[in-house]
Protein backbone atom coordinates (compact mmCIF):
# COMPACT_ATOMS: atom_id res chain seq x y z
CA UNK A 1 0.00 0.00 0.00
CA UNK A 2 2.72 2.45 0.95
CA UNK A 3 4.79 1.58 -2.09
CA UNK A 4 1.70 2.02 -4.19
CA UNK A 5 1.26 5.46 -2.72
CA UNK A 6 4.89 6.34 -3.26
CA UNK A 7 4.59 5.39 -6.88
CA UNK A 8 1.53 7.51 -7.31
CA UNK A 9 2.81 10.43 -5.28
CA UNK A 10 3.35 12.77 -8.20
CA UNK A 11 -0.37 13.24 -8.71
CA UNK A 12 -2.58 13.84 -5.75
CA UNK A 13 -5.79 12.71 -7.34
CA UNK A 14 -4.28 9.49 -8.54
CA UNK A 15 -3.09 8.85 -5.05
CA UNK A 16 -6.52 9.06 -3.49
CA UNK A 17 -8.06 7.03 -6.24
CA UNK A 18 -5.37 4.45 -5.85
CA UNK A 19 -6.13 4.27 -2.17
CA UNK A 20 -9.81 3.75 -2.75
CA UNK A 21 -9.41 1.02 -5.33
CA UNK A 22 -9.50 -1.88 -2.98
CA UNK A 23 -8.57 -4.79 -5.15
CA UNK A 24 -5.26 -3.12 -5.97
CA UNK A 25 -4.79 -2.55 -2.30
CA UNK A 26 -5.41 -6.20 -1.70
CA UNK A 27 -2.61 -7.22 -4.05
CA UNK A 28 -0.32 -4.96 -2.05
CA UNK A 29 -1.65 -6.31 1.20
CA UNK A 30 1.42 -8.45 1.78
CA UNK A 31 3.70 -5.48 1.10
CA UNK A 32 1.75 -3.38 3.53
CA UNK A 33 2.14 -6.02 6.22
CA UNK A 34 5.92 -6.06 5.88
CA UNK A 35 6.02 -2.28 5.79
CA UNK A 36 3.94 -2.25 8.93
CA UNK A 37 6.72 -4.16 10.67
CA UNK A 38 9.38 -1.90 9.13
CA UNK A 39 7.83 1.36 10.20
CA UNK A 40 8.42 1.13 13.91
CA UNK A 41 7.25 4.70 14.49
CA UNK A 42 3.73 3.86 13.43
CA UNK A 43 1.80 1.60 15.71
CA UNK A 44 -0.56 0.64 12.95
CA UNK A 45 -0.27 1.34 9.26
CA UNK A 46 -3.20 1.55 6.92
CA UNK A 47 -3.43 -1.88 5.38
CA UNK A 48 -5.72 -1.06 2.53
CA UNK A 49 -8.67 1.12 3.47
CA UNK A 50 -9.01 1.21 7.26
CA UNK A 51 -12.73 1.46 6.56
CA UNK A 52 -12.71 -2.13 5.29
CA UNK A 53 -10.96 -3.59 8.34
CA UNK A 54 -13.76 -5.80 9.55
CA UNK A 55 -12.00 -6.43 12.87
CA UNK A 56 -12.92 -2.94 14.07
CA UNK A 57 -16.57 -3.03 12.96
CA UNK A 58 -17.88 -4.50 16.19
CA UNK A 59 -16.17 -1.81 18.21
CA UNK A 60 -17.46 1.01 16.01
CA UNK A 61 -21.01 -0.31 15.88
CA UNK A 62 -21.15 -0.87 19.64
CA UNK A 63 -19.99 2.65 20.48
CA UNK A 64 -22.12 4.19 17.74
CA UNK A 65 -25.25 2.54 19.09
CA UNK A 66 -24.39 3.73 22.61
CA UNK A 67 -23.85 7.30 21.32
CA UNK A 68 -27.04 7.33 19.26
CA UNK A 69 -29.15 6.02 22.13
CA UNK A 70 -27.72 8.64 24.51
CA UNK A 71 -28.17 11.41 21.96
CA UNK A 72 -31.72 10.28 21.16
CA UNK A 73 -32.71 10.16 24.82
CA UNK A 74 -31.23 13.60 25.57
CA UNK A 75 -32.79 15.18 22.49
CA UNK A 76 -36.24 13.62 22.82
CA UNK A 77 -36.48 14.07 26.63
CA UNK A 78 -34.77 17.44 27.18
CA UNK A 79 -33.70 19.44 24.16
CA UNK A 80 -36.57 19.12 21.69
CA UNK A 81 -39.47 19.66 24.15
CA UNK A 82 -37.62 22.68 25.51
CA UNK A 83 -37.07 24.20 22.05
CA UNK A 84 -40.68 23.42 21.12
CA UNK A 85 -41.94 25.20 24.25
CA UNK A 86 -39.66 28.19 23.59
CA UNK A 87 -40.90 28.44 20.03
CA UNK A 88 -44.55 28.17 21.02
CA UNK A 89 -43.99 30.72 23.82
CA UNK A 90 -42.51 33.08 21.29
CA UNK A 91 -45.39 32.43 18.91
CA UNK A 92 -47.79 33.18 21.75
CA UNK A 93 -45.92 36.32 22.71
CA UNK A 94 -45.90 37.55 19.15
CA UNK A 95 -49.61 36.81 18.74
CA UNK A 96 -50.36 38.51 22.06
CA UNK A 97 -48.35 41.57 21.08
CA UNK A 98 -50.10 41.75 17.75
CA UNK A 99 -53.48 41.55 19.46
CA UNK A 100 -52.47 44.23 21.96
CA UNK A 101 -51.29 46.41 19.10
CA UNK A 102 -54.61 45.90 17.34
CA UNK A 103 -56.41 46.85 20.54
CA UNK A 104 -54.34 50.01 20.92
CA UNK A 105 -54.99 50.86 17.32
CA UNK A 106 -58.71 50.47 17.92
CA UNK A 107 -58.46 52.70 20.98
CA UNK A 108 -56.57 55.32 19.03
CA UNK A 109 -59.24 55.18 16.35
CA UNK A 110 -61.95 55.61 18.98
CA UNK A 111 -60.09 58.52 20.54
CA UNK A 112 -59.76 60.14 17.15
CA UNK A 113 -63.49 59.69 16.55
CA UNK A 114 -64.29 61.21 19.96
CA UNK A 115 -62.00 64.13 19.22
CA UNK A 116 -63.60 64.68 15.84
CA UNK A 117 -67.04 64.52 17.44
CA UNK A 118 -66.07 67.01 20.15
CA UNK A 119 -64.65 69.32 17.52
CA UNK A 120 -67.82 69.10 15.44
CA UNK A 121 -69.96 69.66 18.54
CA UNK A 122 -67.93 72.72 19.52
CA UNK A 123 -68.17 74.06 16.02
CA UNK A 124 -71.95 73.49 15.96
CA UNK A 125 -72.34 75.14 19.33
CA UNK A 126 -70.31 78.10 18.21
CA UNK A 127 -72.47 78.41 15.14
CA UNK A 128 -75.62 78.18 17.28
CA UNK A 129 -74.30 80.90 19.57
CA UNK A 130 -73.44 83.07 16.60
CA UNK A 131 -76.89 82.51 15.09
CA UNK A 132 -78.54 83.25 18.42
CA UNK A 133 -76.59 86.45 18.83
CA UNK A 134 -77.40 87.44 15.31
CA UNK A 135 -81.08 86.77 15.95
CA UNK A 136 -80.99 88.79 19.14
CA UNK A 137 -79.29 91.68 17.43
CA UNK A 138 -81.76 91.42 14.59
CA UNK A 139 -84.67 91.45 17.05
CA UNK A 140 -83.26 94.46 18.84
CA UNK A 141 -82.69 96.14 15.54
CA UNK A 142 -86.24 95.31 14.40
CA UNK A 143 -87.63 96.61 17.66
CA UNK A 144 -85.64 99.83 17.35
CA UNK A 145 -86.76 100.27 13.75
CA UNK A 146 -90.38 99.59 14.69
CA UNK A 147 -90.11 102.05 17.55
CA UNK A 148 -88.60 104.67 15.27
CA UNK A 149 -91.27 103.97 12.63
CA UNK A 150 -93.99 104.35 15.25
CA UNK A 151 -92.48 107.60 16.46
CA UNK A 152 -92.16 108.85 12.94
CA UNK A 153 -95.76 107.96 12.11
CA UNK A 154 -96.93 109.48 15.37
CA UNK A 155 -95.09 112.70 14.60
CA UNK A 156 -96.39 112.64 11.05
CA UNK A 157 -99.93 112.19 12.32
CA UNK A 158 -99.45 115.03 14.77
CA UNK A 159 -98.05 117.25 12.04
CA UNK A 160 -100.91 116.38 9.73
CA UNK A 161 -103.39 117.22 12.46
CA UNK A 162 -101.68 120.54 12.97
CA UNK A 163 -101.54 121.19 9.22
CA UNK A 164 -105.19 120.28 8.94
CA UNK A 165 -105.95 122.62 11.83
CA UNK A 166 -103.87 125.31 10.20
CA UNK A 167 -105.54 124.68 6.89
CA UNK A 168 -109.05 124.70 8.47
CA UNK A 169 -108.40 127.87 10.39
CA UNK A 170 -106.81 129.36 7.29
CA UNK A 171 -110.12 128.92 5.36
CA UNK A 172 -112.12 130.45 8.16
CA UNK A 173 -109.62 133.29 8.64
CA UNK A 174 -109.54 133.93 4.90
CA UNK A 175 -113.40 134.12 4.80
CA UNK A 176 -113.45 136.53 7.71
CA UNK A 177 -110.75 138.65 6.15
CA UNK A 178 -112.60 138.51 2.79
CA UNK A 179 -115.91 139.44 4.50
CA UNK A 180 -114.27 142.36 6.32
CA UNK A 181 -112.47 143.53 3.18
CA UNK A 182 -115.61 143.17 1.05
CA UNK A 183 -117.77 144.98 3.66
CA UNK A 184 -115.22 147.76 3.86
CA UNK A 185 -115.00 148.01 0.06
CA UNK A 186 -118.76 148.08 -0.30
CA UNK A 187 -118.93 150.72 2.48
CA UNK A 188 -116.30 152.84 0.83
CA UNK A 189 -118.10 152.68 -2.53
CA UNK A 190 -121.20 153.89 -0.63
CA UNK A 191 -123.12 150.71 -0.81
CA UNK A 192 -125.36 149.23 1.74
CA UNK A 193 -123.60 146.63 3.77
CA UNK A 194 -125.79 143.61 3.87
CA UNK A 195 -124.00 140.89 5.77
CA UNK A 196 -125.92 138.03 4.23
CA UNK A 197 -125.42 139.12 0.62
CA UNK A 198 -121.68 139.69 1.21
CA UNK A 199 -121.45 136.30 2.96
CA UNK A 200 -122.89 134.37 0.01
CA UNK A 201 -120.87 136.37 -2.48
CA UNK A 202 -117.64 135.65 -0.59
CA UNK A 203 -118.54 131.97 -0.20
CA UNK A 204 -119.24 131.68 -3.94
CA UNK A 205 -115.85 133.22 -4.80
CA UNK A 206 -113.97 131.19 -2.21
CA UNK A 207 -115.52 127.93 -3.48
CA UNK A 208 -113.70 128.38 -6.72
CA UNK A 209 -110.41 129.61 -5.16
CA UNK A 210 -110.11 127.25 -2.26
CA UNK A 211 -111.18 124.07 -3.92
Amino acid sequence: MISLLQEAAHTAVETTEGAIVTDEAATHGADAATHGVDAAGHAAEAAGLPQLDIATFGNQIFWLVVTLVVLYLVLSRVALPRIASVLSDRQGAVTGDLMAAEEFKQKAREAEAAYDKALADARGEAQAIVAQNRAEIQAELDAAIAKADAEISARTAESEVRIREVRATADVDAREVALDVTAELVRNFGGNVDGAVIGTAVDDRMKGAVQ
Partner: protein, 249 residues
Amino acid sequence: MATEATGGGLEFHPMDQFIVKPLFGAGDVHWYTPTNVTLWLALTALAAIAVLVLGTRGRAIVPNRAQSMAEMAYGLVHKMIEDISGKDGLRYFPYVMTLFMFVVFANLLGLLPLAFTVTSHIAVTGVLAMAVFLGVTAIGFIKNGSKFLDLFWVRSAPLAVRPILAVIEVISYFVRPLSLSIRLAGNMIAGHAVIKVFAGFAAIAAVAPVAILAVVGMYAFEVLVAFVQAYVFTILTCVYLKDALHPSH
Protein backbone atom coordinates in the same frame (compact mmCIF):
# COMPACT_ATOMS: atom_id res chain seq x y z
CA MET B 1 0.39 14.60 10.44
CA ALA B 2 0.95 11.44 8.51
CA THR B 3 3.27 12.94 5.96
CA GLU B 4 6.99 13.58 6.19
CA ALA B 5 9.84 14.07 3.80
CA THR B 6 12.54 11.45 4.19
CA GLY B 7 15.69 11.44 2.12
CA GLY B 8 14.32 13.75 -0.55
CA GLY B 9 11.34 11.46 -1.23
CA LEU B 10 7.83 12.16 -0.08
CA GLU B 11 5.82 9.80 2.06
CA PHE B 12 2.06 10.01 1.87
CA HIS B 13 -0.18 8.36 4.39
CA PRO B 14 -3.52 9.98 3.60
CA MET B 15 -5.44 6.99 4.92
CA ASP B 16 -3.71 6.78 8.30
CA GLN B 17 -6.17 9.32 9.68
CA PHE B 18 -8.91 6.71 9.35
CA ILE B 19 -7.18 3.99 11.39
CA VAL B 20 -9.13 2.79 14.40
CA LYS B 21 -6.81 2.40 17.40
CA PRO B 22 -7.26 2.04 21.14
CA LEU B 23 -7.25 5.25 23.14
CA PHE B 24 -5.10 3.86 25.96
CA GLY B 25 -1.98 1.91 25.09
CA ALA B 26 -1.60 -0.50 22.20
CA GLY B 27 -3.26 -3.80 21.60
CA ASP B 28 -6.17 -5.43 19.90
CA VAL B 29 -9.40 -3.61 19.29
CA HIS B 30 -12.14 -5.56 21.04
CA TRP B 31 -15.77 -4.55 20.69
CA TYR B 32 -15.72 -2.85 24.09
CA THR B 33 -12.28 -1.17 23.79
CA PRO B 34 -12.46 2.63 24.09
CA THR B 35 -10.92 3.76 20.81
CA ASN B 36 -10.49 7.02 18.94
CA VAL B 37 -13.90 6.20 17.45
CA THR B 38 -15.35 6.19 20.96
CA LEU B 39 -13.73 9.53 21.76
CA TRP B 40 -15.02 11.29 18.66
CA LEU B 41 -18.47 9.73 18.90
CA ALA B 42 -18.66 11.06 22.44
CA LEU B 43 -17.42 14.50 21.34
CA THR B 44 -20.02 14.52 18.56
CA ALA B 45 -22.81 13.73 21.00
CA LEU B 46 -21.49 16.31 23.48
CA ALA B 47 -21.30 19.00 20.81
CA ALA B 48 -24.87 18.31 19.71
CA ILE B 49 -26.05 18.31 23.31
CA ALA B 50 -24.09 21.52 24.02
CA VAL B 51 -25.88 23.37 21.24
CA LEU B 52 -29.35 21.93 21.78
CA VAL B 53 -29.42 21.70 25.58
CA LEU B 54 -26.93 24.22 26.95
CA GLY B 55 -27.66 26.68 24.15
CA THR B 56 -31.36 26.77 24.99
CA ARG B 57 -30.77 26.94 28.76
CA GLY B 58 -32.01 30.52 28.88
CA ARG B 59 -35.35 29.68 27.22
CA ALA B 60 -35.30 33.29 26.08
CA ILE B 61 -38.10 34.81 24.05
CA VAL B 62 -35.39 36.80 22.26
CA PRO B 63 -32.70 34.15 21.65
CA ASN B 64 -28.94 34.56 21.95
CA ARG B 65 -26.60 33.10 19.32
CA ALA B 66 -26.42 29.56 20.65
CA GLN B 67 -30.19 29.40 21.11
CA SER B 68 -30.68 30.77 17.58
CA MET B 69 -28.49 27.98 16.22
CA ALA B 70 -30.47 25.37 18.13
CA GLU B 71 -33.76 26.84 16.95
CA MET B 72 -32.52 27.05 13.35
CA ALA B 73 -31.49 23.38 13.40
CA TYR B 74 -34.84 22.48 14.98
CA GLY B 75 -36.76 24.56 12.43
CA LEU B 76 -34.78 23.16 9.50
CA VAL B 77 -35.45 19.51 10.34
CA HIS B 78 -39.01 20.16 11.55
CA LYS B 79 -39.94 21.95 8.33
CA MET B 80 -38.18 19.31 6.24
CA ILE B 81 -40.24 16.50 7.77
CA GLU B 82 -43.46 18.50 7.56
CA ASP B 83 -42.90 19.45 3.92
CA ILE B 84 -41.69 16.09 2.68
CA SER B 85 -43.21 13.42 4.92
CA GLY B 86 -46.37 15.28 5.89
CA LYS B 87 -47.86 16.09 9.31
CA ASP B 88 -47.95 12.44 10.41
CA GLY B 89 -44.18 12.27 9.83
CA LEU B 90 -43.66 14.64 12.75
CA ARG B 91 -44.11 11.71 15.14
CA TYR B 92 -40.64 10.58 14.10
CA PHE B 93 -39.14 14.06 14.41
CA PRO B 94 -36.86 13.30 17.43
CA TYR B 95 -35.43 10.32 15.59
CA VAL B 96 -34.68 12.29 12.39
CA MET B 97 -33.34 15.19 14.45
CA THR B 98 -30.95 12.81 16.24
CA LEU B 99 -29.66 11.54 12.91
CA PHE B 100 -29.21 15.05 11.51
CA MET B 101 -27.45 16.44 14.58
CA PHE B 102 -25.21 13.39 14.79
CA VAL B 103 -24.17 13.47 11.14
CA VAL B 104 -23.65 17.23 10.94
CA PHE B 105 -21.54 17.39 14.09
CA ALA B 106 -19.57 14.26 13.20
CA ASN B 107 -18.78 15.79 9.80
CA LEU B 108 -17.81 19.17 11.23
CA LEU B 109 -15.75 17.84 14.13
CA GLY B 110 -13.95 15.57 11.67
CA LEU B 111 -12.62 18.69 9.98
CA LEU B 112 -10.70 19.76 13.07
CA PRO B 113 -6.95 19.09 12.71
CA LEU B 114 -5.94 15.71 14.16
CA ALA B 115 -9.60 14.75 14.46
CA PHE B 116 -11.05 11.37 13.62
CA THR B 117 -14.05 11.46 11.29
CA VAL B 118 -16.53 8.85 12.46
CA THR B 119 -18.81 9.40 9.45
CA SER B 120 -15.95 8.43 7.12
CA HIS B 121 -16.36 4.83 8.28
CA ILE B 122 -18.66 2.59 6.36
CA ALA B 123 -19.46 0.68 9.57
CA VAL B 124 -20.85 3.87 11.12
CA THR B 125 -22.74 5.18 8.09
CA GLY B 126 -23.89 1.63 7.34
CA VAL B 127 -25.49 1.36 10.77
CA LEU B 128 -27.11 4.79 10.34
CA ALA B 129 -28.44 3.82 6.92
CA MET B 130 -29.66 0.41 8.07
CA ALA B 131 -31.38 2.04 11.03
CA VAL B 132 -33.23 4.31 8.61
CA PHE B 133 -33.97 1.46 6.21
CA LEU B 134 -35.22 -1.01 8.81
CA GLY B 135 -37.10 1.66 10.75
CA VAL B 136 -38.85 2.98 7.66
CA THR B 137 -39.72 -0.52 6.45
CA ALA B 138 -41.13 -1.42 9.86
CA ILE B 139 -43.17 1.81 9.95
CA GLY B 140 -44.43 1.09 6.45
CA PHE B 141 -45.73 -2.37 7.35
CA ILE B 142 -47.11 -1.34 10.74
CA LYS B 143 -48.95 1.69 9.33
CA ASN B 144 -50.20 0.22 6.06
CA GLY B 145 -50.01 -3.56 6.47
CA SER B 146 -49.82 -5.35 3.15
CA LYS B 147 -50.80 -2.14 1.35
CA PHE B 148 -47.21 -1.06 1.88
CA LEU B 149 -46.35 -3.40 -1.01
CA ASP B 150 -48.26 -1.00 -3.30
CA LEU B 151 -45.02 0.96 -3.23
CA PHE B 152 -43.62 -1.67 -5.60
CA TRP B 153 -46.77 -2.21 -7.67
CA VAL B 154 -47.14 0.91 -9.81
CA ARG B 155 -50.89 1.11 -10.49
CA SER B 156 -50.58 4.12 -12.77
CA ALA B 157 -48.49 2.09 -15.25
CA PRO B 158 -49.97 -0.34 -17.82
CA LEU B 159 -50.51 -3.83 -16.43
CA ALA B 160 -47.94 -5.43 -18.74
CA VAL B 161 -45.16 -3.14 -17.50
CA ARG B 162 -46.00 -3.48 -13.81
CA PRO B 163 -44.03 -6.68 -13.06
CA ILE B 164 -40.90 -5.21 -14.63
CA LEU B 165 -41.40 -1.97 -12.71
CA ALA B 166 -41.94 -3.99 -9.53
CA VAL B 167 -38.56 -5.68 -9.95
CA ILE B 168 -36.89 -2.31 -10.52
CA GLU B 169 -38.68 -0.76 -7.54
CA VAL B 170 -37.68 -3.63 -5.25
CA ILE B 171 -34.05 -3.40 -6.32
CA SER B 172 -34.01 0.38 -5.88
CA TYR B 173 -35.63 -0.03 -2.48
CA PHE B 174 -32.93 -2.39 -1.27
CA VAL B 175 -30.14 -0.26 -2.73
CA ARG B 176 -31.27 2.65 -0.56
CA PRO B 177 -29.22 1.83 2.56
CA LEU B 178 -26.18 1.12 0.41
CA SER B 179 -26.34 4.42 -1.45
CA LEU B 180 -27.18 6.30 1.74
CA SER B 181 -24.16 4.96 3.61
CA ILE B 182 -21.62 4.97 0.76
CA ARG B 183 -22.56 8.51 -0.29
CA LEU B 184 -21.82 9.89 3.16
CA ALA B 185 -18.69 7.84 3.89
CA GLY B 186 -17.31 8.30 0.36
CA ASN B 187 -17.64 12.07 0.54
CA MET B 188 -15.91 12.17 3.90
CA ILE B 189 -13.08 9.80 2.89
CA ALA B 190 -12.36 11.56 -0.41
CA GLY B 191 -12.34 15.09 1.00
CA HIS B 192 -10.15 14.26 3.98
CA ALA B 193 -7.73 12.20 1.90
CA VAL B 194 -7.35 15.00 -0.66
CA ILE B 195 -6.62 17.52 2.10
CA LYS B 196 -3.96 15.18 3.52
CA VAL B 197 -2.34 14.72 0.12
CA PHE B 198 -2.18 18.46 -0.49
CA ALA B 199 -0.74 18.86 3.00
CA GLY B 200 1.91 16.30 2.06
CA PHE B 201 2.99 18.39 -0.90
CA ALA B 202 3.54 21.33 1.45
CA ALA B 203 6.81 19.58 2.50
CA ILE B 204 8.36 20.61 -0.84
CA ALA B 205 9.35 24.27 -0.54
CA ALA B 206 8.74 25.02 -4.24
CA VAL B 207 5.10 24.00 -4.29
CA ALA B 208 4.33 24.71 -0.64
CA PRO B 209 2.37 27.98 -1.25
CA VAL B 210 0.19 26.33 -3.86
CA ALA B 211 -0.31 23.27 -1.67
CA ILE B 212 -1.27 25.37 1.35
CA LEU B 213 -3.71 27.44 -0.72
CA ALA B 214 -5.17 24.22 -2.06
CA VAL B 215 -5.58 22.90 1.50
CA VAL B 216 -7.38 26.12 2.50
CA GLY B 217 -9.66 25.89 -0.54
CA MET B 218 -10.41 22.22 0.02
CA TYR B 219 -11.07 22.89 3.68
CA ALA B 220 -13.68 25.52 2.85
CA PHE B 221 -15.22 23.14 0.35
CA GLU B 222 -15.26 20.35 2.93
CA VAL B 223 -17.11 22.55 5.42
CA LEU B 224 -19.78 22.97 2.77
CA VAL B 225 -19.75 19.24 2.02
CA ALA B 226 -20.12 18.46 5.73
CA PHE B 227 -23.37 20.44 5.85
CA VAL B 228 -24.65 19.31 2.49
CA GLN B 229 -24.09 15.62 3.22
CA ALA B 230 -25.87 15.87 6.57
CA TYR B 231 -28.72 17.69 4.82
CA VAL B 232 -28.88 15.09 2.03
CA PHE B 233 -28.86 12.23 4.52
CA THR B 234 -31.74 13.80 6.44
CA ILE B 235 -33.78 14.75 3.39
CA LEU B 236 -33.50 11.22 1.99
CA THR B 237 -34.61 9.87 5.37
CA CYS B 238 -37.67 12.12 5.08
CA VAL B 239 -38.37 10.90 1.55
CA TYR B 240 -38.18 7.25 2.67
CA LEU B 241 -40.43 8.10 5.60
CA LYS B 242 -42.96 9.60 3.20
CA ASP B 243 -42.89 6.39 1.15
CA ALA B 244 -43.53 4.39 4.32
CA LEU B 245 -46.43 6.60 5.45
CA HIS B 246 -48.03 7.07 2.02
CA PRO B 247 -46.93 4.09 -0.10
CA SER B 248 -49.38 4.60 -2.98
CA HIS B 249 -47.83 6.41 -5.90
